[in-house]
């Protein structure tokens, strides 16, 4: 059966023009041939579409016949012939003004968007400090004179903070502070300087362990202990660091359980930090060490990030046991219950400025 014949048969079937035996034959053919079945239903749908189209056309022409009788309201603003030119001129100037405004605002938006994009890329910034001669305070120099330990003559290229984790000279700071260092010097608040070496670096958590080069180095027992449990939101915290050559105390609170971009290794802390605070200890009100300041969000004030102390613990377990005395951080906490000024006074001794030369 060719296509033409097929369409004819389908249509006769649909229109009910077939004789009874013809219909029976066609139906039995339909049952055996699903392709034909589809063709019939598609043809039926097509015809109904055609008819619906036709009925729309008819309805349109009926409406068009009525339309001239309908009352069309006058245009809201009738336009007389004479003022048309002036009106047109006004429109031209309005259009010109509008297009200038449009271009200006588009350009502004483009610029704003670009600068917004830029600011997104450098949202996170390390808070190590670039040192230069002018930034050095007189304070340190005077102490240099008083002290027998003379610091290096060169003021150093980068600065950060570190703090003691043992009595025999092990310190923790940020990896980014000492990255690429030729030599590292530590300086305490009295201006005493010590040469140090990096003994362990962990890039992923941005932590590094330093050791004072002088193997006879001994300090008083550490006043703080390492806190194992994660700290909760709203926990009040304080930190001490060297954003300048003088130790600076800062206070704040844990503002989120994750750090920059949801980094689960870190806390978000609402605390003032400046370049130089990198590697500063973050302690809670009981004097327990809960984290290490690593960076801040450059786009907004008061958002800092600190690596959680749990990660520091994991790091310390990898240090050689014979040299690093882990018990030093598990001594009795000397800070709990003390007024804040006393806590600060005790912690101060164990926080050092890191100077990096490269």
């Amino acid at each position: 059966m060719n296509d033409l014949h097929k369409i004819q048969e389908i249509e006769r079937y649909l229109d009910g023009e077939m004789t009874a035996p013809e219909k029976e034959a066609f139906e039995s053919l339909l049952r055996r041939d699903p392709a034909l079945q589809r063709e019939v239903s598609s043809h039926e749908a097509f015809l109904s579409q055609l008819r619906a189209h036709g009925s729309r056309q008819d309805f349109r022409s009926r409406m068009n016949a009525i339309h001239p009788k309908a009352i069309t309201p006058a245009q809201p603003a009738p336009t007389p012939v004479v003022p048309l030119t002036s009106r047109r001129r006004t429109w031209y100037s309005i259009a010109a003004a509008a297009s200038i405004a449009l271009i200006t605002s588009m350009a502004t938006m483009a610029i704003m968007q670009r600068s917004a994009k830029n600011s997104i890329t450098d949202k996170y910034e390390d808070v190590r400090r670039v040192l230069n001669n002018i930034q050095r305070s007189q304070n340190a120099i005077i102490r240099d004179i008083n002290s027998k330990n003379t610091g290096p003559a060169n003021p150093g290229t980068y600065g950060g903070t570190c703090f003691a984790i043992s009595r025999n000279g092990y310190m923790v700071t940020n990896y980014h502070v000492i990255a690429g260092a030729d030599s590292i010097y530590l300086q305490n608040n009295k201006g005493e300087a010590f040469k140090a070496v990096s003994v362990f670096e962990d890039v992923s958590s941005d932590l590094a362990v330093l050791r004072v080069a002088d193997s006879n180095f001994r300090s008083a027992p550490l006043p703080y202990t390492l806190k194992m449990q994660p700290s909760r939101l709203g926990q009040e915290v304080f930190s001490m660091g060297y954003p300048r050559d003088e130790i600076v105390f800062g206070m704040g609170y844990i503002s989120a359980q994750t750090g920059f971009n949801g980094d689960t290794l870190a806390y978000q802390v609402s605390i003032p930090v400046k370049p130089g605070n990198s590697g500063a200890p973050l302690l809670d009100m009981n004097g327990e060490l809960i984290g290490i300041i690593t960076g801040r969000q450059s786009t907004s004030e008061g958002i800092a990030f600190a690596v959680k102390s749990g990660h520091l613990k994991r790091l310390l377990e990898e240090l050689p046991k014979e040299k690093f005395n882990r018990k030093d951080l598990k001594q009795k906490n000397q800070l709990s219950g003390l007024p804040r000024v006393e806590q600060a006074r005790k912690v101060e001794e164990f926080v050092y400025m890191v100077k990096v030369y490269n």
Partner: protein, 183 residues
């Protein structure tokens, strides 16, 4: 009740009563035209939108199970408002239209169904536009106006109904091809 009167009008509209169509048309067109012309539309826009809305109404009425839940006036206004809003949004400048005082839920549903079918109608319109004469008229006469093959044969000067019928099938196949290749 107004709604009952409107429902009665609707029945007559579905039955292709010209008088009912005229009543509905003349009563509601000025309202819609005013709304559209106050919102950046021309008289032609108003005519197009209103007639489209009337088609929605007509086809709904013909389906037979359409029961008005609001006044005809509300329904038509609502459909027109939505259509015009859509057109404005697709254009370069978008203008805020007045909020519907009484939103017609029927209108939203009907319009949605209408827009779904719209693509196919456009397709059919395009296919019919392309097929050319005499096919267009033959198909219209037979399938839409349901004239007998005998009448069509006489109208187009075919010697007998059988010849006309063959011609009709050829036309139909061409239309089908046009319709389906464009989809």
């Amino acid at each position: 009740m107004h709604i009952e009167k409107d429902q009665e009008l609707l029945h007559r509209l579905a039955a292709n009563d010209d008088k009912a169509l005229e009543t509905i048309y003349l009563e509601h067109y000025p309202m819609v035209a005013r709304m559209i012309m106050q919102h950046n539309g021309s008289a032609d826009d108003a005519k197009d939108i209103f007639q489209e809305a009337m088609i929605v109404l007509y086809e709904k009425a013909k389906e037979g199970n359409f029961v008005l839940s609001s006044r005809l006036k509300t329904f038509l206004y609502s459909v027109c408002r939505r259509m015009w809003l859509k057109k404005l949004q697709s254009g370069p400048a978008s203008t805020a239209l007045p909020e519907d005082v009484e939103e017609s839920a029927d209108a939203a549903d009907a319009l949605e169904a209408h827009l779904e079918k719209d693509a196919q109608f456009r397709q059919m319109e395009a296919a019919m536009g392309k097929i050319g004469e005499p096919c267009k008229t033959i198909l219209e006469e037979y399938y839409i106006h349901r004239k007998s093959m005998q009448d069509i044969a006489e109208q187009f000067g075919y010697t007998n109904a059988e010849n006309a019928k063959n011609q009709k099938y050829k036309c139909l196949m061409r239309l089908k091809k046009l319709f389906f290749t464009n989809i």
